[in-house]
Subunit: 343 residues, 2 copies
């Protein structure tokens, strides 16, 4: 398609945060370079340029910065950090991404990003409730929904444990499990998060991993065992839950934030063969694979939001200069709810 | 039912091997006591006494000797070591287990053992091909079949890796995978086992874990990744295979013989989150749960045996005095095929 543009593509420059070297441990400000005055990228057929308005901050971004290939290639040195976000189309060569529309995609840590017509760029129309989309209706909610419903197959009466339950995905997953009639125990770090889980999200119980013995508390709170474990953290908490699985339990591997910053892989769950004793299943998944269900799931979650059955909390950081700190907050446990960056 | 007996229950005495203390590492002769002249047990309604003719030697027996509860309670100190076997009914209070019939059950390491009418005691009729039953048609074959067909869902064209592929269960699992049209790579220890896998079982490739770099060889032999891994060993080999999973792979956890003798749980698979990257599943199972399919599966396996499509090898030890050594042979890798004890 012929190029259509709402801005002067020659004179407008880009601001972006590119990877300078691969981080060891938490991302450091010296691992990236904050660039201004950079020329805008050229658009190929089927692509659009968006002016980024919001960026989602997701733990998986940290995995993309390491050398080892995961489910997507590593971000190359010199390239902007890959990240999800919402932007307004300011130039387009894609019929499905018209000027002025908002697009949800992977524009990266930059003022202007390229999105490409296809499964990973969703046309949201001209207006959108961006915070609700980033916190609930987009990838975060899809991840929580697919994990609880499709992978975990949570049913009424199940005992469900969610780690990082006060985090973006965990908090939605825990609420979806409640809405399906499960008894839900959240694991989180700190008394304020415990309070939020119990009082605002209505979970049945919460464990403060910082002040409580997770293993012992699981034994008290789940005497019949854990039917579904939605795991965001890996590490010792995964091991503790494996020790309390019920027969035919499902361990839903959503993430492993306790290890994303490790240069050397730490030991895995030494209790994994509880999967044999309990005839249980541990399964990984990615919301990427389920993007064709974006609309279907967003409709369900949107209805629950409108009915007041889903609660979310937003932690807003301002500007690209806040990106490194915003990402690290996921791993230090500083946040409650969904971290986003407003540009 | 009234007691029926073919022997003098008063004057016949039992010979048995009971657990004296919990082993650390490999079972030691001093951990057990070989008793003779012991009175026969009394039979409750629904039970039968069998004169044991054959015992199967299975790695899972070692797990029953440790204190931690697995899928069955630990063997109590002073009790005979629990083990599968085939015996002839010499006294009965069970209508389904008539005098003179052979019964396949869990009589334990003793001359005369009690079996109980129910899912775990199978009436084999008066005559039976005991070696074929122990090596292929019984629990070993059921485990291999359920693992490959139901849990692994092996289909034509899949690349399947089997560890301990020259062992009892692994050798049957590998052959069933071949019969389903898969490409099968076996991992085993030593050149003679490699030869057996390639020449006698007809596997597509074999890796000698003692002399070869398993990780590197998997990369060469499975360039498109591993669709199904049938794991008998755990430990570093599980980690190596996790690094080579194909998308949507299935890791079938049958056993973990590399860790059964450890007093302290060794680290688990540090690569377990490859399950996320590859949207893969790791699932444990026990043939115990599938005992209702014994007849159905034995018929399929029996037909393949008769048609010459399944090969097995038997490693026969003689007498209860050989039991400790026979069990340990599983873990030192001394055996090829199925280890049994003839009484």
């Amino acid at each position: 398609m012929e190029l259509q543009s709402a801005i002067d593509l020659e004179r407008t420059t880009n601001e972006r945060v590119v990877l300078r070297c691969r981080p060891e441990g938490l991302l450091d400000e010296n691992d990236v370079e904050h660039q201004v005055g950079v020329p805008l990228p050229e658009l190929a057929d089927g692509q659009a340029l968006v002016e980024v308005e919001w960026l989602g901050v997701d733990a998986t971004v940290r995995t993309w910065l390491s050398k080892a290939e995961g489910y997507l290639p590593a971000v190359a040195i010199g390239e902007p950090v890959r990240a999800s976000g919402i932007g307004r189309v300011v130039a387009t060569r894609a019929e499905g991404l018209p000027l002025g529309h908002r697009v949800y995609g992977l524009p990266g840590w930059q003022r202007y990003g390229v999105v490409e017509e296809g499964p990973l760029a969703t046309d949201l129309g001209p207006e959108v409730d961006a915070p609700a989309l980033l916190a609930v209706l987009g990838a975060t909610g899809l991840t929580a929904y697919v994990g609880i419903v499709d992978v975990g197959r949570v049913e009424e009466g199940d005992t469900v444990v969610v780690s990082a339950a006060a985090g973006a995905t965990g908090s939605i997953a825990a609420q979806i499990a409640k809405l399906r009639g499960a008894r839900v125990v959240g694991i989180c770090g700190g008394p304020e998060k415990v309070r939020w889980l119990l009082e605002d999200l209505g979970l049945d119980a919460a464990i403060d991993r910082r002040s409580e013995d997770v293993h012992a508390r699981l034994g008290e709170l789940c005497p019949e065992g854990v039917d579904v474990y939605f795991d965001n953290v890996g590490g010792p908490i995964l091991d503790a839950v494996l020790d309390h699985l019920a027969l035919r339990a499902r361990v839903v591997l959503c993430g492993a934030i306790s290890v994303y910053n490790e240069s050397h892989r730490p030991p895995g769950p030494s209790n994994y063969f509880q999967l044999i004793n309990k005839r249980a299943r541990m399964e990984g998944f990615l919301s990427l694979d389920h993007w064709d269900r974006f609309g279907e799931v967003a409709e369900v979650l949107g209805r629950w939001l409108a009915e007041g059955k889903l609660t979310y909390r937003l932690d807003v950081h301002e500007g690209l200069g806040s990106a490194v700190g915003a990402l690290n907050a996921l791993f230090t446990g500083a946040n409650t709810g969904k971290i986003v960056i407003r540009l």
